[in-house]
């Protein structure tokens, strides 16, 4: 049996983050001053315990789907793996750096797509030459066409996420984290991006996918983690089994697999 080589090890991870201005900032300036005089903390700072003791290991060549309801900690988990959120306790171990690709990661909105490709490519650690070499293939893959010369805030949601995916996947990553980035793409782009994810896996990396489309998870992933309130409910290689259990628990329609395969 081939030795599985772990690329991501998550060890009893707890993530607590602080939210500012959640509710009490409706207070007036006078109440804010009184609070300062009484040396009280801003009540608007709230702590959210988003991940509560998650452990798992993902190997080279895995595509791991992360499923769960809204607010179950999926995005937080990805951000922790990417090293963008420091853990409260526990640890995430990876090789080098994981790259997070989120649908909300609006790169530099007021710049043209062209400049975004260059700047983000360089930010990911490519050399100017590599960026030049891959520029055309990135633009072609994203399929945004002439829009590449327009500022990104003129893009449709779908075009934006296609360009982001194209940029992030231009470089082979040891660990690529995809946070619902493919939701907004059209059918053609979904096929292309699935192929690209397969390639990235073949290039011996690990891909994490967060999505609410169970069909998409089942198509792309060989392994799935079901999160609920920051804890793992089920995790394993039995992707259809866990998805069915998840759908049953959340009251969703079971997947029509026969239709999907034709």
């Amino acid at each position: 049996m081939a030795a599985a080589e772990p690329l991501v090890v998550v060890d009893n991870l707890h993530i607590v983050y602080r939210v500012f201005g959640s509710r009490a900032d409706r207070g007036t300036a006078a109440t804010a001053f009184l609070r300062m005089l009484r040396r009280q903390h801003r009540p608007s700072v709230r702590e959210v315990h988003a991940i509560r003791g998650v452990s798992f290991v993902a190997n080279r060549g895995d595509a791991v789907g992360v499923i769960g309801r809204n607010g179950s900690g999926k995005t937080t988990l990805l951000r922790a793996i990417a090293g963008l959120l420091p853990p409260e306790s526990g640890a995430v171990y990876t090789t080098g750096h994981a790259s997070l690709l989120g649908v909300n990661a609006a790169l530099l909105d007021d710049l043209t797509g062209e400049r975004n490709v260059v700047v983000c490519g360089l930010a990911m650690g490519m050399t100017p030459r590599e960026v030049k070499e891959r520029y055309q293939s990135i633009v072609d893959f994203s399929g945004v066409g002439d829009f590449i010369n327009l500022p990104m805030n003129a893009y449709s949601t779908g075009m934006g996420s296609r360009l982001r995916f194209a940029i992030a996947s231009a470089r082979s990553h040891d660990v690529l984290l995809i946070d619902e980035a493919l939701v907004t793409g059209d059918a053609e782009f979904r096929v292309k991006s699935r192929q690209r994810i397969e390639e990235l896996r073949a290039e011996a990396g690990t891909v994490f996918v967060v999505a609410h489309s169970m069909a998409q998870i089942e198509e792309t992933c060989n392994r799935v983690i079901w999160l609920e309130k920051g804890k793992i409910v089920q995790a394993g290689d039995d992707v259809p089994g866990i998805i069915d259990a998840y759908l049953a628990a959340t009251g969703g329609q079971p997947l029509n697999r026969a239709a999907a395969k034709t």
């Binding site: 190997n59 990417a82 997070l100 400049r115």
Partner: protein
């Protein structure tokens, strides 16, 4: 890899092509786990904590690797800055010019703070442009982390690239102002001399200083957003204390307070402003009070008369209120080195916390 023994209720991770795992009857809270301690497993495969901070030296090397990113980021931002305005890039020249005009109107014409300065227009404009560079760098650095949160949360790169990039934008703007400044200096009749070349090292030192303090402000601003609200007020107070629109040693109120005058003159903003002025303005270099050799006796007489209310400017010139140009260079280098070293470590220390929350 040996087949891990299965703990009750837990499921093991199997590589691709392995036999299917045993389905757990009940929801397994800890799935995908081998039987050895995870930290040991991670260690065995050379994995490192993802949120770990690199050492200060490694961080510096990473920063150097991203130098192209810093430059591309700065250029892109600079172009985007005026893209909404109809006059576009013309504002890069227009902004410093208008600034100079406003200050000349207020301080040169209305308040008349020309005291002891031969070429006031050039003197004032130099002060404003040099101070403006520091002022804008500080304000922008205190906001940089919150302004680029999207980028921070999307991509992994040394965060020090961001304050660095923003200050390079300010440096680019500053160099454009310098062109305007040179035109004004020539138009007011100053000769071109070799001293002008000294402007280059002064601006390099000032940039280092701005980056250093910018690092500190960026870290503070990332944690406490109130700071970026407060900075403009602090910086404005600082401007009035740094001799931007008057010559510090010529302030009548400071004749009898040599220590305060001295402290004002060695504050970093005043040092860099004065160094540029001394390089560019020949008239100032040759006529400032204190230019004459120090004479204790004459100076004593002058101070005595001053105290009695009969000022005697010619005698006062023999008192060395003015920090000499060579001391200014020492202070200029000192401030820059101090700021960049402390700032670098302060920023680096909180590297992993930027963009959390």
């Amino acid at each position: 890899m040996s087949e891990p023994t299965r703990v009750k209720g837990a499921r093991t991770l199997s590589g691709p092509g392995e036999a299917p795992i045993v389905p757990a009857p009940s929801p397994a809270p800890q799935g995908l786990l081998p039987d050895e301690p995870l930290a040991a497993l991670a260690d065995r495969y050379g994995l490192t904590p993802s949120a770990a901070r690199p050492g200060p030296w490694t961080y510096l090397k990473q920063l150097w690797q991203r130098r192209h990113f810093v430059l591309a980021f700065a250029t892109a931002r600079n172009i985007a800055m005026y893209s909404e305005a109809r006059l576009g890039q013309v504002w890069q020249i227009l902004t410093p010019l208008l600034n100079a005009a406003v200050y000349f109107l207020i301080f040169g014409v209305i308040l008349d703070t020309k005291r002891g300065v031969p070429n006031f227009i050039a003197f004032l404009v130099t002060g404003i442009f040099i101070f403006n560079f520091t002022q804008r760098s500080f304000i922008i650095a205190s906001r940089v982390i919150n302004d680029t949160l999207q980028l921070i949360r999307a991509l992994h790169f040394p965060r020090a690239c961001l304050p660095l990039g923003y200050i390079i934008i300010e440096l680019q703007q500053m160099l454009i102002s310098m062109v305007v400044l040179i035109v004004i200096v020539l138009a007011t009749g100053e000769p071109i001399t070799w001293y002008w070349l000294l402007v280059v090292p002064v601006i390099a030192l000032q940039t280092l200083f701005n980056v250093g303090v910018g690092f500190i402000l960026a870290r503070i601003g990332a944690g406490v957003e109130d700071v970026s609200q407060l900075i403009p007020f602090i910086v404005r107070t600082w401007m009035y204390a740094s001799g931007v629109m008057f010559f510090i040693p010529a302030l009548a109120t400071l004749y009898l307070h040599k220590k305060i005058s001295y402290l004002l003159q060695i504050n970093p903003a005043a040092v860099y402003i004065e160094l540029v002025r001394n390089s560019l303005l020949t008239s100032l270099r040759h006529t400032v009070s204190g230019y004459r050799p120090y004479n204790r006796q004459l100076c004593g007489t002058a101070l005595h008369q001053q105290a009695k209310g009969v000022p005697h400017p010619a005698l006062l010139d023999t008192c060395h209120f003015v920090v000499s140009n060579s001391s200014l260079w020492v202070y200029g280098v000192g401030w820059a080195v101090l700021a960049i070293v402390i700032g670098y470590f302060v920023f680096w220390q909180a590297e992993v916390t930027y963009g959390r929350g």
